[in-house]
Symmetry: C2
Subunit: 212 residues, 2 copies
């Protein structure tokens, strides 16, 4: 069984999509061993408790980010976490945090990166006037919304869309994309070549396993 | 009848897609009144001649861009051109050219702008490792690959894609996107709000016509 750790700051709709996909058996051989929030009042942390999951609130309380992150890393290790999933976690991770989980921290972003990194990606997309946007699941590196892309899903921007309508359409795709990306990463059947995520054909994967 | 002018530098596959769409009646009330190339040996110019279209080669011959562009603008005007379509035209347009055809110059670019502007967009997309790319038809403004977007079409990047395979998949969509974008622009049923292309509902368009 592989252990996931979730970090969130708000309602955690992507956390719930991951948990639901797990309940449906769509993410095999994995469980959520800890849900961490940097805000005590996050609705996502209450939802995690209601599901009987282990939870932890680790607030900033005016501390340095490195100090808060060290506490989070310790908590994740304590729960045997192998893959960290950011689900609306509104703090940048320290370099030490990122180094503690090499190629093992995922984030989801509501645009087709590299377009529209940073805050308010949906509003940025509308202001630019794109006809297509979407979402991106990527590994976290030290640059904002920049790491290796695991998968993307596209959505049309429709006439008359406001930020709310576009965000809702993208969120539907996020809820499909994140569980799928987690499955891919947990399978281990991939390589990162330069900065491309390259899936190994399952036949090749079997051969690799055999050769071990 | 509205008159289009085409500018190309190479094989002109998008020019041919536009001409074919016109022959099939997919771009109503319009013809191609002139095809201009900045290279005498462009295959697209031979193809235009073979179709019985008026053609003109206007080479740079070491002249300043403004001088060459003035000659092109004069040629377009002589042929009554109302909409200029760049189809693999490998020269930047001078500000004077752009000012001569306000919101009446279209270009097609093989990426989902604002991602991957400039040369070798498909190679840029592969190097970045995106899961989705596509093409963009946009009005030309004074910044490279930057003007208001008329429409975009997405394509998946598949495992094992090289530049050639991805380019071919995007090109298929370009050949659909460009005629569709031209139809939209020629219809006049749109407004540009900030930098968003906003289609007017046909009902609204009828009301606007009535009110004239």
């Amino acid at each position: 069984m592989k252990h996931l750790g979730i970090l969130l700051s708000g309602r955690g709709s992507n956390f719930l999509a991951i948990a639901d996909a797990m309940d449906r058996g769509q993410i095999e051989g994995a469980d959520i061993s800890i849900v961490i929030s940097n805000r005590a009042e996050a609705a996502g942390i209450a939802a995690a408790r209601a599901r009987g999951l282990a939870t932890q609130v680790i607030e900033a309380r005016g501390r340095k980010r490195a100090e808060q992150d060290a506490e989070i890393v310790a908590c994740l290790r304590e729960h045997g976490v192998e893959l960290v999933c950011l689900a609306g976690y509104m703090r940048l991770l320290s370099p030490e945090f990122i180094a503690a989980f090499p190629n093992a921290i995922l984030n989801i972003h509501p645009s087709l990166l590299p377009s529209f990194p940073g805050l308010d990606a949906q509003a940025q997309a509308l202001a630019y006037g794109v006809g297509i946007s979407g979402c991106t699941v990527h590994f976290v590196d030290e640059q904002l919304d920049h790491g290796v892309i695991v998968l993307q899903r596209a959505v049309p921007v429709l006439q008359g869309d406001d930020e709310e309508a576009l965000s809702a359409r993208i969120l539907e795709q996020e809820h499909l994309a994140y569980p799928e990306a987690i499955s891919r990463v947990l399978s281990g059947n991939y390589a990162i070549v330069d900065r491309r995520y390259v899936a190994r054909a399952s036949q090749n994967a079997a051969l690799i396993e055999e050769a071990k």
